[in-house]
């Protein structure tokens, strides 16, 4: 492995760099491998692109291409209509995800609690849920368009229907996995429904619910891109990619893909952070 430890003497006197240096000393060993990994990946990609084996431009084109350089430098521009900076495109997509995902969380958790607490309902709905969750997000797009007639609600519906299954199924499982002892305590104390939910059901099922929420946020973000590609004429990072492809601005696609991956990573971290705050892992 590379053992290029940052020299300690160099930045000794510079007080501004001190926190950076301390951070590097603590986390440097963890950070060096991914940095090298990414550098190698981008270099190989650039070399393949130069060699002429593919039409796909290399990562350097993001800077050398004027269109992408402008997009990169001005994410906040807004010339009206669909001609907006990538920040606004991403924000529009995120807004749809937020709406669809929130609906999925509300429906998934409440329906999951209902089904999880009733063995009969669980048996009755199990095949339906297992069947529906196998339907790919893209397959819902035509159904959503037919059912809702408009692009915007259809896109939100596609997010909802993609994200709801992991939340629903994990919530059901979480409720079913409540230790028998806790349920017995609830029975012998004849806890009210509210006390049972607040003191036993939710705390006990929360780790499962969060697992569902975390899987769902990733799926929701995947689905919005797919959905927007199919639904033409809306502001959003998905349609932005499709538009760029049709106009042959290949570098723009690559830039958008970087945005998508980065936002997806942030969303996952966000839910993981919430999970750590709300339902920390227990021994």
């Amino acid at each position: 492995m590379v053992t290029q430890a940052p020299s300690r003497n160099q930045a000794q006197g510079t007080s501004i760099l001190a926190p950076v240096q301390r951070f590097w000393q603590k986390r440097g060993a963890d950070l060096i491998p991914p940095i090298i990994g990414i550098a190698v990946f981008l270099t190989v990609w650039q070399l393949v692109s130069w060699s002429g084996a593919t039409r796909l431009p290399g990562p350097l084109s993001l800077w050398t291409d004027t269109r992408t350089r402008e997009l990169l430098l001005y994410p906040f521009y807004d010339l009206g209509g669909l001609d907006k900076g990538l920040f606004w495109q991403t924000l529009a997509s995120l807004g749809r995800v937020a709406k669809g995902y929130t609906a999925a969380a509300v429906v998934g958790i409440s329906l999951g609690v209902l089904v999880g607490t009733s063995p009969w309902l669980n048996k009755a709905t199990y095949p339906i849920f297992q069947f529906l969750r196998m339907v790919a997000p893209l397959a819902w797009v035509p159904i959503a368009l037919v059912a809702l007639q408009q692009n915007q609600p259809a896109a939100i519906f596609v997010i909802f229907i993609t994200a709801v299954w992991p939340i629903l199924i994990n919530t059901i499982e979480g409720v079913r996995q409540i230790p028998e002892d806790y349920n017995n305590v609830a029975k012998v104390l004849q806890l009210s429904r509210k006390d049972y939910y607040l003191n036993i059901l939710f705390p006990s099922a929360l780790p499962y619910i969060f697992t569902g929420l975390r899987i769902a946020i990733g799926l929701a973000w995947l689905a919005i891109i797919a959905a927007e590609i199919v639904m033409s004429g809306i502001v959003g990072i998905g349609f932005f990619i499709w538009d760029a492809y049709q106009q042959n601005y290949i570098s723009e696609i690559i830039l958008a893909v970087f945005y998508i991956g980065f936002v997806g990573l942030l969303l996952d971290r966000l839910i993981a952070f919430l999970q750590m705050k709300i339902a920390p892992a227990r021994k």
Partner: protein, 288 residues
Amino acid sequence: MKSTPVKLRARRSTYPESWHYPSNSSNQGFLVFDQVSKGFPTAKGLYPVLENVNLTIQEGEFVCFIGHSGCGKSTLLSLVSGFQQPSGGSVTLKGQPILKPGPDRMVVFQNYALLPWRTVFENVYLAVKAVWPNKPEAHKRAIVREHLAMVGLTEAADKRPDQISGGMRQRVSIARALAIRPEVLILDEPFGALDAITKEELQEELLKIWNEHRCTVLMITHDIDEALFLADRLVMMTNGPAATIGEIMAIPFERPRNRDQIMEDPQYYQLRNYALDFLYHRFAHDDE
């Protein structure tokens, strides 16, 4: 302190001075098992766990149940707590059949069953609040504090169950059970997982608290010495399937009991040997 181990209420004068015929006194007892049987459905038909169980327990009595594993002790007590219903016969408390679990028959669970996401105080408070939702807040909190003090856990009130030892958890579980003033306290091998010293400490505390509150106690144990120290009567179960009550031993030691004193009593070893003989000779567990 009273030294009567058992208070007999409304007993028929013609009734012989014996523990063995409870079915006649069905209507007089506090807690009565009358011709109780319990089976579980299996692929090969009904598997009989308990059969022909007759037992009358008086109010305020401390009764221990002993027997080899699989003899249906836990099943028997779950008929009192109401988690299960008898397949035949009846279990009645003050003349009323037991239909479902309720806080008048509080259980101290084998593995404590404390909510890990609530503090010690909150665990007890939840029970108090469930049983007396309309009591003033300050009163409810005072009850919790009083019972935590009783088991010596005032200091640990704000800790979570995973931050305290097994013995302390069992104390919380007992405090939670006693805080709601049950008529019957059911303990399923409460001290089985504890070390010998903690176990003796808790036995003494339990006895002291019981002396003050005098609720009826039903307790499963594997430990004959524990039963002899705590109980008024020891119910010895035969082996399953179709287990029943083999014999009931009255334990005559005066209360309040002192462990050293009763162990010096010659009767102690007679009783102990009698119970050992029952468990290991007459109803030995066939370990194949």
